[in-house]
Amino acid sequence: MNPLLPIVILLFFIQASVLGGTFQPRFKNQTTAPEVTSKSILRVNSTNQVYDLGSPWQKKPPTGRRGLGVLVGDGSILVTADLVANSNFIELELPANAKKSTATIQHIDYESNLALLRATDPEFLAGMIPLKLAEKISIGDSATVLQFEPNGEIARTTGRISSISIAPYPLENVGLLVFKISMPLQQRDGSFTLPAVHGGRLVGLLMRYDSRNQTADIIPMPIISRFLASTTQPDFKGFPRLGVSFAPLRDPQLRRFIGLTEPGGIYVTKVTPKSSAASAGLREGDVILAVNGLPLDQDGNYEDADYGRILFSHITGTLTPAGGKVVLKILRSGKIEEVPVAMKPLDRSSVVSPSFLSDAAPPYFILGGMVFVELSRPYLQEWGAEWTKNAPQRLVNYDAFQDELPADRGKIVVLAQILPTPDTIGYENIENVVIKELNGRPVKSIADLAEAAKHPVEGFQKIKLEEDPTWLFLDAASIEANRTQLMEHYELPATERLNPATSGQP
């Protein structure tokens, strides 16, 4: 008798799901809410060009990306930042009537991977209807991803939200709320920037699609609404960050050793210098037990009223605005303490090797054919997917352990390559070494380098490197005399770009 029971139950479930699939209009609001039409979405074609960081006076060949934007009110079109990052040219297109307009970026935030565009033709969006954000979505709800057929009709693919969690965004070290939808999706446009809707409202923007597992990652409404709110703040510097690395506290031996009797809790393994956590006095070895009174489990999750068990960084990074406050309950040296933390975004100005460069043109300085650049992770990523192994190890190391450098280290200025000239004879094989001093002056930025170059010593540019071959000398008068020739010969538009300037777009 007993062995039959599980089979019966199983059959029942299959039947239920078949029914759910067949009779579409089952969801309450779907019968009442209007379907999203082509009056709210449009095609966005972006031509993007990134700088060649080894030869930073030039850009790499342009690449085109296509996606769909969503009108979110007041002439603003929401897309992913990925779609329009480093764009030279953005074109909007209404598939129904093939009308086109160029567009500019109004706001872009690389952390949340979102951007707002505005059409240059003020009449272009006439008759279009802005889409509202969905209010409450739970696991199991359906969501429909919209695409355009070549004939301008909307193609709808519906799936269910299978998980809601804090997951990586394209920028390294950024984890924010993500909805995952299981669905088979056909690639129709050049990218997966596509709107996902439910009940006539916007659930989010698709930012990547895993075709093998058929899961779509969605930037959901809470992130979008935080981004939209930020666009009205003139001093917006990004989502707030706590600035801690942590490890789960699953090991009972470790829990006993640190005298942890309460359930849950996470172990702080690193506090980012100058971060919110650092300012609040958080230290390595602290155990975070609760955030704003919500207890954390041993992996750092709390019970969210809307989304269930998700990582506490949703509270600190999304629900709390910059300038807001969170209260941490911590265990330190066997004692429970409450620590208020004033939340602020990451101070990017003090970052030694930035993990992304946004649209800014990278600074560089060319001294008699020697090309100097500032170290950044994108520079290392020029060595390809295996850059941590293939890029020069000293540079990789500077990037990986930049938090351990002295606070006044400044930027790492790298002699990236040498454009051979008669002035650089004998130096041809030197590349990717870090400069320490020029003419006895410490070099902590490209600007420092440019300044020091104005003060040659006894007629020489005296370059001191951090490593072998340590010293390089150039004839100051000769390189100045040969500068025009160098520029003509290698077709350099300029021998320096001192301050990061934004390209094309405001």
Binding site: S245, A247, L249, R250, D251, Q253, L254, R256, F257, Y267, T269, K270, G285, T388, K389, Q393, R394, V396, N397, A400, F401, D423, T424, I425, G426, Y427, E458, F460, K462, E467, D468, P469, T470, W471, L472, F473, L474, D475, S478
Partner: protein, 480 residues
Amino acid sequence: MSRLLSIVLALSFSSLLKAAPIAESLVRIEATSQEPDYKSPWSPGTVLSGVGAGFVIDGDRVMTNAHVVSNARFLTVSKEGDPKPYTARVLHIAHDCDLALLKVDKAEFFNGTTPLEFGGLPEIESVVSVYGYPIGGKRLSVTRGIVSRIDFQTYSHSAMDSHLTIQIDAAINPGNSGGPVMQDGKVVGVAFQGYSGDVAQNVGYMIPVPVVERFLKDVEDGKYDRYIDLAISYQNLFNPAARRALGLEDDDRGVMLGAVYGGGSSDGILKPGDVLLEIDGYPIASDGSIRFKNGVVPLTEVVERKFRGDKVHLVILRDRKKQTVAVPLDDPWPFTLQSNAYDEKPRFVIYGGLVFQPVDRNFLAEHDPSNQRLNYSYDFFVEDGIYRDRKELVVLSNILPDPVNAHTGDFRYSLINEINGRRIQTLQDVAQAFAKPEEYYVIKTADVGPPIVLERKAVLAATENILKRYGIASEQNLEK
């Protein structure tokens, strides 16, 4: 059909006749070796066998390459025309210049052999013959070519040492290793390495006589010491601005020191920016070459001929002033970590299923870890003076799964900094830390993360099971 056969026979017969005096001294070496396993360091290792060549030299000794007899467990030698294998043993082995001397257990082996004599450095384009037992048959093989180039080359056996090397265009194949390269009846080199055909054509290398003679002189006292080194790196001085800035004339002389490696012979005597003008009286050209006895060679050739405790006299230019300095030569020990090691047992300590090992080139070759801090510490062990803080790079190399270590997986390949407050400099420190009874062992790594905490009583209860489950006879080996 039969006529063709007789021609082939006659040809081979005539060449055999010519080769006869050399053939009498040629030795075929069959080596059975056991390669240690750095992934399961407690295992005795895989048994392999191979064939190489050697030749008889004075004193009833057989010379061959170190790589032919490395990690050897059992060696037999046989002579051309005498089928009997004789057992042999390694008398001296020099992994840094890929040479070894063997001794044959029965002296009668040498009956009828003639010790070969050494010649000098052959001229470029002069003809040499290579003798050995390369693939393609069992008997002696002779190939012939010319001397293509004389230069410094990395010896791939240790992978860290470079010495004078002669490139020849005679075919050198596996099995030629250790065989003599002859000219006018004298040995002018020992065949040792080459490129496979898909990299370069007709490029074979032999160890020239100066390197062989240095080895033979080194072992005269009964033991082999390593090569010594100035432990510097220098930069050409072609650049006119650099020459003027350093106060040099336009005479194409001198090289500038780019790096002086800590722990090496020149540490504290030379510094980056010094210009080397002369070495033991030989003027140094701006590319670092000198005119030596045997032609133009890199300046390091002067050092190559010397032994530990000898001095090198240098004329340098520092702050535009000429100075004479003497550098006493010593072994730059931190470099040995980055060389291939042979005839060593892997060292390890196992505690609670956690395996601790020192990292060296052998270890990395098998493990290929992706831990950034470990790879950096290894790559820059000498250059950045890592060796001052850590005599060895001790890592948690593996976790043998057991409930007692269920949460330690994230720490694999982390460098170990401390155990219960004790700084971990060597593997010995790890063994000592665990030997001291404590309630908890708190292991701090160099990576970002919480400490690894092991409870002594839990470990003690689990140890026997772990060792049994993974077939481990001993919890540690601290001896090489």
